[in-house]
Symmetry: C2
Subunit: 468 residues, 2 copies
Amino acid sequence: MEAMPLDDAFLDRLRALDLGLTEAAPAYLEEPRGRWHGAAAPLARPRDVEGVSALLAACNEAGVPVVPYGGGTGLVGGQIHEAGGAVLLSLERLNEVREVAAADGALIVEAGVTLAEVQQAAEEAGCLFPLSIASEGTARIGGVLATNAGGVNVLRYGNARDLVLGIEAVLADGTVIRDLKRLRKDNSGYDLRHLLIGSEGTLGVITAASLRLLPRPAEVATAFLAVESPAGALDLLQDLQGQLGEVISAFELVHRQGLDFLAEHFPDMTHPLETRPDWMVLVEVGGAYGTAKALETGLADAFERGAVSDAVIAQNEGQRDALWAVRETIPEANRLTGSISSHDISVPLSRLPEFIERGRVAVAEVAPDARINCFGHVGDGNLHYNAFPAAGRDKRDYANQRDAVQRAVHDLVVSLGGSVSAEHGVGRLKTADLERYGDPGRLAAMRAIKAALDPRGILNPGVILTQS
Amino acid sequence: MEAMPLDDAFLDRLRALDLGLTEAAPAYLEEPRGRWHGAAAPLARPRDVEGVSALLAACNEAGVPVVPYGGGTGLVGGQIHEAGGAVLLSLERLNEVREVAAADGALIVEAGVTLAEVQQAAEEAGCLFPLSIASEGTARIGGVLATNAGGVNVLRYGNARDLVLGIEAVLADGTVIRDLKRLRKDNSGYDLRHLLIGSEGTLGVITAASLRLLPRPAEVATAFLAVESPAGALDLLQDLQGQLGEVISAFELVHRQGLDFLAEHFPDMTHPLETRPDWMVLVEVGGAYGTAKALETGLADAFERGAVSDAVIAQNEGQRDALWAVRETIPEANRLTGSISSHDISVPLSRLPEFIERGRVAVAEVAPDARINCFGHVGDGNLHYNAFPAAGRDKRDYANQRDAVQRAVHDLVVSLGGSVSAEHGVGRLKTADLERYGDPGRLAAMRAIKAALDPRGILNPGVILTQS
């Protein structure tokens, strides 16, 4: 993009399109980590797919960049445009649940519906939409799909893309793709659904989706456990899966460091265990009647053979919520502590204990007194691996080490066959990583596809692929 | 493609590349349904991904079409090139199991390994690779992925694409994409894996894949049941899922017509039930100890309330194989009978009974005495819906009605929100259907992607997209 002719004449054209055009309020220009700050920009809030199409067609013709905006909860800066000259496109007014088709196992929703509202609509239909992330009250399903969000139930139900039957989307030139099917099987040509999901608004704008509805489990049980080590956690998972089958929906690793941060910033939050172990796991199962009992039996066996040294099983909904609150408040406690560098990484399961061991050494070589909080979706091989200042020091003290810490962690991840962008996406944060670590053939194909679907490069420029 | 300069000079270039170049034997020029006949063609059988890359680079430079060839079992003509002037590319010599990584839940195999060999490798590692199709002894995994094969276990485990962690592939210009990751989560850019899977060799040639290994169920149980109707089958499935959870791996509808064809062509094959009901179901479950007992209980309940009127549960491996043989031999009995027109369709679950009822009427309007054999993956909403001549007549007698039968069935499917290409793909058979019924925006995007990744149009021209 050389010219960005976002002038008054162009804005007048947009105003004629009934897009609810305003100046973007400050909230649209910030993101949760406070790293990027958007330039002042016009904000379009179309009411329907035709409005999105009209906006994109106009911007494409004029060569004006468009930054799609969902709930604003993304952690890699994909919703922020610092350079200026772009139009923000919020999907918030496409907020209808178009159809609840429980008999087809499908739920048709528009992009602006929040993830919590999707879950709610599923529940009201006696079904389950299992995707769950900490920001689900704010995150909108369009952004959830654009970033292929993960969360705590991937172990059993997959990432966002695994829960989508079809999509409606608008391409850069305003072309609408209408593919809101509700079929389990459809081999009629290229899978554009999966290409657009996870493309972070750079190939098209998702305006609606046909989501999978799943059966609600008759019983859910949740427990918080002390384990010996990350390797012990993985062994336990395998044993429980062998005993219980596919009912384990969440298996989240928690480190003592996370609970220490919680105690500091949320002193009223109760530690779930009597002991203070280094490594803990939150496990949740859901299934037919008897599943809760089966978990209890499995944990008793594990306790007897020493695989679990302490455990609490939630006895009611309140206790269950309290256990989840511990897990889900850790990111906020991290934020309040202020990290040197945060990493959203995945490695093959067999390399995970090695990663944790070598990661500590690699970080210590760069920042010897740094504290590590390593937690998350251990059953998926996906950890949030964050380095923090020593007690009493501030993240600004480590400004000179930050890049080196990140480089050390990412180099290690890649050497173990892992990904430096496991579930949050690439956004603006990791474009350099993608260039450094990405397969050249894959990058070439990605650039070719971007050029084919968005030849003028108006869609979220600078996200995923660097601008040439 | 105007010029197809497959001349002696070009063949000499290929001979210099160590691709095992020969004249294609007749078997490479035929396909299971006998509808297409390939023109005589040179056959390249490279040993590795570098050989595939060298071949494609040379053909791309010269503008010579390339037709990728797996096991030759495809049912839509995607492996056949009738026009001549193309090179056949068989992946049969890329036949190594590169790595069995059970601890990572991954199996790395080359494209030429057969599906049965993949299942075998998984079994030897104490795991399960659940994809299962009738042609698994011959079908090679490269073709299985290129066509996103379905089969009998989709209900629980998904289509081929749902069982792939990563791929290695070669683009038209010889660029190699190396992405054989073994991660559950990797949000680092566009999902080329899902774009290439199901693209039927028109966007790239898959040379290897990282496949998901799943836990082997401790118990498997198989039963054959009589049900009242297709709607009754779907109700039963829902009830059993409610009682048993996610352990139901197969739920296959069988119609009496299929068993009549079996009796005619395979008189030694025993009918599984004492009665001769119109509609039957083969159900299979797999899970922890107790799963078989749970199925028995579930079926006893169903019998008591009249949802099942007759049932046999396999008591040993031999009986289990015999039940499956009934289901898996129906396509061969169909072939020997000779259909007027065959359809691989899917509809939303809620519309499936309506489709079966209205389909019979629609076919009868065109060919009043035709017999229908409707069977298959009813739990996925995917039926094989085939029209046959009246007893004593031949399919050639219906030559004038064939197109109208197909049109009537496909129109009905599309009017119900279904797909006319559920699991076999588009190939050469359904390009016109895709143009007729496909969403124009989706087709435009598909053409743009094809032009971007294969600008000279050398990869399997005429498959999926018609040539312009």
